[in-house]
Symmetry: C2
Subunit: 342 residues, 2 copies
Amino acid sequence: MASDFAAGEFKLITRLTQGLTESSDVALGIGDDCAVLDLGGDALLLATCDSQVEGVHFTMHTTSPEQIGRKALAVNLSDIAAMGGEPRYALVSLILPPQLPLAVIDGIYTGLRQEAERYATAIVGGNIAGTGKAEQLIIDITLLGTVARGHVLARSGARAGDVLCVTGAPGSSAAGLHTLLHPDQHYPADALELVRQRHCMPQARVHEGQVLSCFGPSVVTAALDISDGLSGDLEHLCERSNVGARIDLSRLPLSSEICNIAKSIAYDPVCWAMHGGEDYELLFTVTSGQEHAVIEAIQTATGTPVTVIGTILHREEGMKQVYPDGRVEKLSVMSWDHLKQK
Amino acid sequence: MASDFAAGEFKLITRLTQGLTESSDVALGIGDDCAVLDLGGDALLLATCDSQVEGVHFTMHTTSPEQIGRKALAVNLSDIAAMGGEPRYALVSLILPPQLPLAVIDGIYTGLRQEAERYATAIVGGNIAGTGKAEQLIIDITLLGTVARGHVLARSGARAGDVLCVTGAPGSSAAGLHTLLHPDQHYPADALELVRQRHCMPQARVHEGQVLSCFGPSVVTAALDISDGLSGDLEHLCERSNVGARIDLSRLPLSSEICNIAKSIAYDPVCWAMHGGEDYELLFTVTSGQEHAVIEAIQTATGTPVTVIGTILHREEGMKQVYPDGRVEKLSVMSWDHLKQK
């Protein structure tokens, strides 16, 4: 058993959940961003949970309590966004070390409430437990949402020929994490603030997901959020859709801030954009010819830029990356944890 | 801030959740066993979450992986039971220490699956995270259920004159815990096995709750499950219903096993029955005169005995306990954690 559960998580989930009894009211079970549950009403129910562990996902030294609270909810909001849903209800489970100052707990809840109010999400329940002796704060949130029947965005619908798109400019969160892990290096101040904010207080693309959902699965064929990194999450999409993909590296949207940070440390910003985790942008596929309408709708409704970065291929063509000089290589999937070591 | 979050949990929850925005689709928010959500269909949605923390709720020395998995789900099933609901969907969040053997994780999931199958509950999602360096396993489960509109059992409907009832015989779990914490004392073997099983593998009263729910709130006026202890949970019921209560100690159902264990260590079994936590029996109130029909229905449908143990009083009369000799005293609420020290 690998000691690193982040790397082994997907294999472990497969192992533990294989052969689970299927149920007719579970429209979509384990393997997508949310479970999709059919309770018979007009809307389908979405359910997801995600935890933030001190020392693994955040540290008290680099993140404020408010930011911890906001991010703990944001990562779950992003899963609802990836399915095109409307976030509705949150259950908040706190595991608290014995000597944690009350001000920290208050701060976390302030952040949680701000993020919940922003998306009209009600905190309806939860649990508080002590860690006993361990000095490790954990926040585990379950988020429920709804989505109109027939408008679920899933990972599994991409077909060869579809156009691959991404919202915003991935890589900022990884750049921000780098600056937090290497605080002694010198970075341009403006860019530094931006990338750290992106890392510590990511924004889920909830409204963007809802716009995608309006088009329905015949136009927006698959979607997921970028939590593990663009390359890794594209691999998940390809596996679930049984397709291959090609990314044109020259088309990757690179923000000026990650370019500036990268330049200051002589690093390649494409690495952050391709493999950096925790961006919470949406990666999605669109039936060829429809991409302009979809991009236009998102930009008009939300102001968020969308970029075409590649094409879906047949499964046997695999995953490829095309360099600016036209060279084509097998796309190397790197995990976010691997990147952290750099 | 108290270092013991178990004791301070309820105050902390009140502090953190005060003034949370109410929403018309949240029929019942924080403060009952489950949140009750109205998505507009025939059934209402129930949502609850509860965590099991190694070293706080269980230890690897005294509990098998299968038992840990079963109990982690059972404590959530009990919350659905307390609302009269049908458990439907579980999301399982695991926080795993780095060197945890795969066999332990497999065992936990085996227990989870057994318990889920028993109640036709689908495991539809979850999350796996590493603890980083901390050596503490945590299982946090969110359970969703449904209940027919108009048939929710809540904590808040008890009225003076109602009859107070309890399923089964509380106290076994606390007796079992005592034997685990004091393994060097001598206990009668038969009783020992029974009380330890009750502690390590409690059974949620799911079907009993559903029978109660059938009667509707005009007959079964309030209910909750005994997780903190009979006295403490009765206090919760009284607070939410704005009533007082009287327990006749002579009517408390004491199982022969807790009497035998108590006798062997010269302890009063009433203490376990009144204040011991984690029994997951149901404590409920019935409109006076209807109790025989309700008790008969539960016994016929499930075989589970039900005992009338007291009466609901007006708020100003407070909480009282009546001794077998007729002496009346203020009911002392002791927490489960307090009892553990004995």
